[in-house]
């Protein structure tokens, strides 16, 4: 039975969505179980292969960092993304706007 690595995060500053997304990317490398425990999220990682606990932990933290950045980017760019998508695929206005 492979050893379990436990990583926990402050629920006030770490979103659950990002943890789940990081866990998703680990599928095939490690099983990840995320649960809320008081004011913290606890992640239990069980490698499916030969991965060392330290490597797995470092990898998971990297993935979480990246997912946090993705979340931030998504929030910042969602309005302009929707604008571009609606320009591309929304029913095109008969007249486009003149610039000032």
């Amino acid at each position: 039975m492979a050893a379990e690595t436990v990583v926990d995060f402050d629920a006030a500053t770490q979103s659950l969505g990002a943890l789940n997304a990081a866990a998703y990317r680990l599928i095939g490398i490690a099983a990840c179980q995320v649960e809320a425990s008081g004011s913290r999220y606890v992640c239990r990682l069980t490698p499916t292969g030969q991965l060392e606990p330290d490597t797995l932990r470092a990898r998971f933290l990297e993935l979480v960092t990246d997912e946090n950045v993705r979340e931030g980017l998504r929030a910042k760019t969602e309005p302009v993304r929707n604008l571009i998508l609606s320009l591309a695929f929304g029913s095109l206005a008969a007249k486009s706007q003149d610039t000032p």
């Binding site: 007249k95 486009s96 003149d98 610039t99």
Partner: protein, 395 residues
């Protein structure tokens, strides 16, 4: 270099209060076809010829004097430097100041009408520095000249300043071109910003000209760089919008990139951007710098030896060609271009300001080469040398 502007040395029969007028030059042997036709006189005998043919007015090159002044009531005398003028050419004349401009030369492949000297940009290298004057009379002069232009003329250009500043009037002139000169391709130079307006694009499209292209400069993919070169904030954003709107309506657009110390080091990035974002433009012209006008004032910031961007230029051309974009290189002699670029190098410099240097006489590529600008203060690359197509020469 051909002087296109000048002053009459003398006139007869013109009231200084008369408005500006245009003339078409005719050989004294041919009879005048309209009131604006004048006889082109070089030799004393031409006077009698002109009178017999029925001319009432004449342009005299040089010192020939009229033996019978009463027969030809209106005469304008020009200095010898205007000896290049010939049958079919069109002049604009201002009696008050005795100033004249050569508006059109029938024998030339490079005829261009200056539409205005006003501009909403102030490009660091502008060869026609803007002046904030009321020169709306120019459009009228053009309207007067267009009926005199030879119908066989292959192409005509319109430049400025910014021709679209008075877009309603200017587009009206394009309609005249369409009607009077249906066989003549029209090439307009513009910064393109007027086309960010749907109304302007609709009017432009409404001309339904059979062969109309607008040449629009883009100096960089980056707003701060382009805006700096043209000295106008917000320029790139509007220019790109203008290009998109024009192409959306199926209008012909050429993108021009003038190469100097600010634009040439980044030409690969710019052309990569053009290939990815505007691959549907009809043509891209990469252009050597004309060292005149503001280019002289900004020499410190602008001068770069073409040899120092030769490699980047070749890569940029390669990129555009690979993306199936039509590309030409203008105003750069073959000796400073990589051989891979030669098929795209055009003989682009207007004849009246085109010349070569002494070394060029020994060059095998001279017949195909663009040569140099004779305007302003020509600066020559260290790479200028005759190309001898001997078998062992490699590039």
């Amino acid at each position: 270099m051909l002087p296109l502007n000048g002053m009459a040395t003398a006139t007869r029969g013109f009231d200084s209060q008369e408005p500006r007028q245009v003339f078409r030059l005719r050989s004294p042997k041919d009879s005048p076809e309209q009131l604006t036709d004048v006889a082109l006189i070089r030799l004393p005998d031409d006077f009698d010829e002109a009178v017999s043919a029925g001319f009432g007015q004449a342009i005299v090159i040089g010192d020939s004097t009229d033996p019978a002044p009463q027969a030809l009531p209106r005469v304008i005398q020009l200095p010898n430097k205007f000896n290049y003028l010939s049958n079919g050419d069109i002049l604009g004349f201002h009696p008050g100041s005795k100033r004249l401009r050569t508006l059109y030369r029938r024998a030339s492949a490079h005829n261009s009408f200056l539409v205005t000297e006003r501009c909403n940009h102030y490009c660091l290298m502008c060869s026609q520095p803007p002046r904030d004057v009321d020169d709306s009379w120019i459009l009228q002069e053009i309207r007067d000249a267009l009926p005199l232009v030879d119908k066989q003329t292959r192409s005509l250009g319109f430049t400025g300043g910014e021709p679209l500043l008075d877009w309603r009037e200017f587009i009206g002139v394009l309609c005249h071109c369409r009607d009077l000169l249906p066989q003549t391709a029209i090439h307009v130079l513009s910064n393109g910003r007027a086309f960010a307006s749907t109304e302007v694009v609709a009017a432009w499209e409404g001309v339904r000209h059979p062969n109309l292209t607008v040449g629009i400069p883009i100096y960089s993919a980056v707003d701060t760089v382009h805006d700096y070169v043209v000295q106008a904030k917000g320029a790139l954003d509007e220019t790109v919008l203008g290009i998109l709107k024009l192409k959306d309506k199926g209008q012909r657009v050429e993108v021009r990139v003038v190469l100097h110390a600010i634009t040439a080091p980044r030409v690969v990035a710019t052309c990569r951007w053009l290939a990815r974002n505007l691959p549907f433009v009809d043509h891209v012209a990469l252009m050597g710098l004309e060292n005149t006008g503001f280019a002289i004032a900004n020499d410190e910031v602008l001068w770069i030896d073409p040899m120092d961007y030769r490699v980047q230029l070749a890569e940029a051309v390669d990129l555009l060609v690979g993306s199936k974009v039509r590309v030409s290189v203008y105003n750069l002699p073959r000796c400073v271009l990589a051989r891979s670029v030669w098929p795209y190098a055009a003989q682009s410099i207007s004849d009246w300001k085109n010349g070569f240097v002494a070394d060029c006489d020994r060059c095998d590529e001279k017949p195909r080469c663009s040569g140099f600008f004779t305007t302003g203060r020509p600066r020559y690359s260290r790479g200028i040398q005759p190309i001898m197509n001997t078998p062992q020469r490699s590039n």
